[in-house]
């Protein structure tokens, strides 16, 4: 059953399995474990970004195609829904129509990009997508009457998915993890650990995103372990050989680009619905693209599980590393050089450094490293998967 | 045997192993190139001849074994350093810079920075087409002319050892003849040459000593005269490869 669900592609590391189970458990029961708004919205983002980053990994990790246009497709999905609901009102028909329109645009653009630059040189694709994504960003920013320009757009979410919708009359009981932790330390009383959870449309929307995330993840696991996925990896390892074996590599790569773009578009649709506000900065910015790259690489390229780890790590860092740095900087003399270096607004500096170091020393990311340890440790080496581990790959060409 | 015990070898490979990616190409090559002679390295496709030359040049990493050039142990040296101690390499694809003119190709090859006029005149005499196309891009030359430029580049300054990989490949018989004449001249100058060849007639004409490779090892060494006169040995060592490539 589990083998079937995961397409026989296990985490292959005990620690990794435990971490994944914890993440999965927290996401599944999230609204009942964290009372705050911040945690709730972050969990929603994790679900959306798992789709976004896992689909990116399909290109980057499994086929070694570097694209900078992933956010463009994400933005197309998000703006598709935003624009459709702005014109046709807050109904499911508008959402579906917007999503469908966005998908069509996505397929056309992805095909164009693939045919334009995949036939030349792999490196061209990175540069061409960079330029095209920028042109798209500038277009969205400039076309104020349609897109709201820099100001962005409010998304008119169907009532059933909004905060005003109350499917249940009663509240449900929640068990607050942070408060339980505090109570364990004796800082709060155990009474405060339980809290009331009111189920609203937003809770429903969260579960839609969560469900979609799980489904897409399992789907991608199936894809990469299918014959199609094996061809992709063959192309990654040695394009000439794959060609010599009779595979039309341009066709395969284009297919990957289109599939990946479609999933990014889907992530955009979900993002619009869950965030209820889209603007160029939160959907299209180059910085966001870089973040996707960071998440994918640090989690572990070419291991879909890596995207889950990468997304969780990155969003945690983005949300809480700043708090940590703030604590740290309060210990330092104010306005000293060191205080500037570790100030909360400098979290990206440290993350960038961590990223570069991880490319050098752990090129296969967290997941690759965990698997390596697992394969080395005698306890797990009797399982065949652990022995014929094909990670980490340190040579990409 | 041409190998004179008193004569110091120019180059000596001892148990050299080398890989290309995951493929083990050289599996313990032992080879001695006598000083001042032309040694031909024979063997069928994939025997490891080209890899041997590339390994001497430092273009393929030595996994085990030792390469000595004269008195020096050059194992593991970087390619430029190997080149600077007097080894020139003409690869199978000739490696002529097609975007550069013939002149510029030669200017680069003169590592000291200046071309010796006398030597240049000698070279242009040896390979007249180079003079004719002096300021043309080398990419426009014919195959034979490119080969002349490649060899000319290797000898524009005096070198102690020339490594030449299949110079006759894809050339017309008349041009091969010219090339052989030129190599004869170099031989007369007492330049040590290690030549990889598939063309046995060409090798027989030029070679003094010979080494035969098979499956990443040297399986026979001796004088070219001995091999040329012993048809049974030829058949045993080279039976497959030669006829097809002549």
């Amino acid at each position: 059953m589990l083998a079937n669900l995961l397409s026989g592609d296990y985490p292959r590391s005990r620690i990794l399995m435990v971490i994944l189970a914890i993440i999965m458990g927290i996401l599944a029961f999230g609204p009942f474990l964290f009372p705050g708004v911040r945690a709730f919205s972050m969990m929603g983002m994790i679900c959306v970004f798992i789709i976004l980053v896992a689909s990116y990994d399909l290109m980057l990790g499994y086929t070694h195609i570097v694209s900078f246009a992933h956010t463009m497709f994400f933005g197309i999905g998000a703006y598709g829904v935003a624009m459709a609901t702005a014109s046709w009102g807050k109904g499911f028909d508008a959402v579906l129509l917007g999503a469908a329109g966005a998908m069509v645009v996505t397929v056309v653009l992805a095909l164009l990009l693939g045919l334009l630059s995949l036939r030349v040189k792999a490196i061209f694709f990175a540069l061409v997508t960079l330029a095209v994504a920028f042109a798209f960003l500038s277009l969205v920013t400039q076309l104020y009457p349609i897109t709201g320009g820099e100001d962005g757009m409010r998304v008119h979410v169907p009532r059933e998915l909004g905060p005003a919708f109350r499917p249940l009359d009663d509240t449900l009981a929640g068990f607050s993890l942070p408060d339980a932790f505090a109570a364990l330390l004796g800082n709060t009383s155990w009474q405060e650990v339980f809290f009331e959870v009111r189920i609203t449309g937003r809770t429903l929307m969260y579960y839609v995103a969560f469900g979609a995330s799980v489904l897409v993840f399992l789907f991608l696991l199936r894809v990469v372990n299918s014959p199609f996925g094996k061809v992709l990896q063959a192309i990654r390892e040695n394009e000439f050989r794959a060609q010599a074996l009779g595979y039309n590599t341009v066709l395969y790569r284009t297919a990957v680009v289109v599939l990946s773009a479609l999933l990014a578009c889907l992530a955009g649709v979900l993002f619009a619905l869950i965030n209820r506000y889209v603007n160029p900065e939160n959907t299209l910015a180059f910085e966001l693209m870089v973040f996707i790259l960071l998440m994918c690489v640090m989690g572990g390229m070419g291991t879909l599980y890596g995207s889950v780890i990468g997304v969780t790590l990155f969003l945690l860092a983005q949300n809480y590393l700043q708090d940590l740095l703030k604590l740290l900087v309060e210990q330092l003399p104010p306005d000293s050089a060191l205080a500037h270096l570790v100030g909360p607004e400098r979290w990206l500096l440290w993350f960038g450094l961590l990223f570069v170091l991880s490319v050098y020393f752990f090129p296969s990311g967290v997941v690759g490293q965990l698997r390596l340890w697992a394969a080395r440790s005698p306890r797990t080496s009797n399982t065949p998967e652990a022995v014929d581990t094909d990670e980490p790959r340190t040579q990409y060409r | 045997m041409t190998m004179d015990a008193n004569l110091k070898p120019a180059l000596r490979l001892t148990g050299v192993h080398a890989n290309i990616d995951q493929y083990h190409i050289l599996e313990g090559v032992d080879l001695v190139v006598p000083k001042g002679e032309l040694t031909v390295l024979l063997g069928r496709n994939g025997a490891g001849k080209s890899t041997t030359l590339r390994t001497i040049m430092g273009l393929t990493t030595v996994k085990a074994g030792q390469i000595r050039f004269g008195e020096q142990d050059i194992t593991g040296w970087a390619t430029p350093r190997i080149a600077r101690c007097g080894i020139a390499f003409v690869p199978e694809h000739m490696g002529v810079f097609g975007q550069l003119t013939v002149r510029e190709n030669l200017v680069l090859a003169a590592v000291s920075g200046v071309m010796d006029e006398g030597r240049l005149a000698w070279l242009l005499d040896l390979f007249p087409p180079l003079k004719k196309f002096w300021d043309r891009p080398a990419g426009n030359l014919s195959g034979g002319q490119k080969q002349m430029l490649a060899i000319g580049r290797a000898v524009i300054e005096p070198r102690e050892l020339l490594l030449i990989d299949e110079p006759t490949k894809g050339l017309a018989p008349a041009i091969i003849n010219d090339l052989a004449d030129a190599l004869e001249q170099l031989k007369a100058e007492k330049v040590t040459i290690l030549l990889v060849e598939q063309n046995f007639a060409f090798s027989r004409r030029l070679g003094q000593s010979v080494a035969v490779m098979n499956d990443g090892r040297v399986v026979h060494t001796g004088s070219m005269a001995d091999l040329a006169n012993d048809e049974a040995l030829q058949h045993r060592l080279l039976g497959l490869g030669l006829g097809e490539h002549q």
Partner: protein
Amino acid sequence: MSTVEHTAVRGGALAGAVPAMRRFRDQSPHWFLLLGMMLAALVMMDFTTWLVLTLSGAAMGAMLFLMASGMTLTFGLMNVLNLAHGAFISLGAYAGATVLLFWMNDQASASSVWLNLASVIPALLFAVLVASLIGWVFEKLVIKPVYGDHLKQILVTVGGSIILMQLIEVVWGSNEIPVPRPEAFSGAVVVAGIALEKYRLLSVVLGLLVYALMTWIIERTRVGILIRAGVEDREMVEVQGYRVHLLFLGVFIAGSALAGLGGAMWAMYEELITAHMGDELMISVVVVIILGGLGSIKGCFFGAILVGLINLYVGFLEPRLAAVATVGLMVAVLMWRPQGLIPVIRV
């Protein structure tokens, strides 16, 4: 057959022009596109506007050329794709601004040409110095470990770019900094009733000078021969006894220095700098080097001028479409010539 004869009979002189045109298009695609674009723009606007826009476009192109030439050369020579190149542009801008605003502000704000020059020239030199020093460190620490591995290059240079831009913010703060242009370079000169901005004229002259210098180095000097040979076949350059890595290090430093110079010029042009200005300019730089053909200096120059011109022309006709037109130009050229205008041929 019959259609050809038909046109020949009817067209007369024109019939000879068409094949000549086609030959021109195939042999000098860069001139063909440049002249074609200028002509097309001339049809769409009056002459004075056209002239002013052409000058401005050429000025922008000249600065883009400075910024892009280093990136295209490092790619051509060492097959290294440095996506942190934009950070060096920012770095140059901030270094230049530091001199103008803090160290030599008196000279910069004086109203004497010589005093102004005495601040602008050190500003440009300091930008070059800082960018080349950081370039040297960057090459050693970030680029060298990932030679020959495009994917890792993209990753570490993106990461390196983040780090550099963050460090810029650490040193200079995260707010935009206004950089007033010294008086001698503000304003315009009037030639035949047409006002031409001084600073733009200066940029064009500087860009042409650098282009001429680079062309001279590459075409005429021994180092240039080495660079061209290295672009074509790195391994054979080593076989000749040259250490390509040293050559590459030099080119990388020079490229970073040029990016810094371009950034400092741009700072005075825009009169406002942010740490992320390099990211925005990187897009144009990328379009330029793709247009020109990765690794080609001449292509880079023409690509830069083309991008500058189309930006200004389209910016005048429909400002909102300038960026789209730039990328559209790139897409069109790629469809026409997949390797760019002047591809570097590897034999």
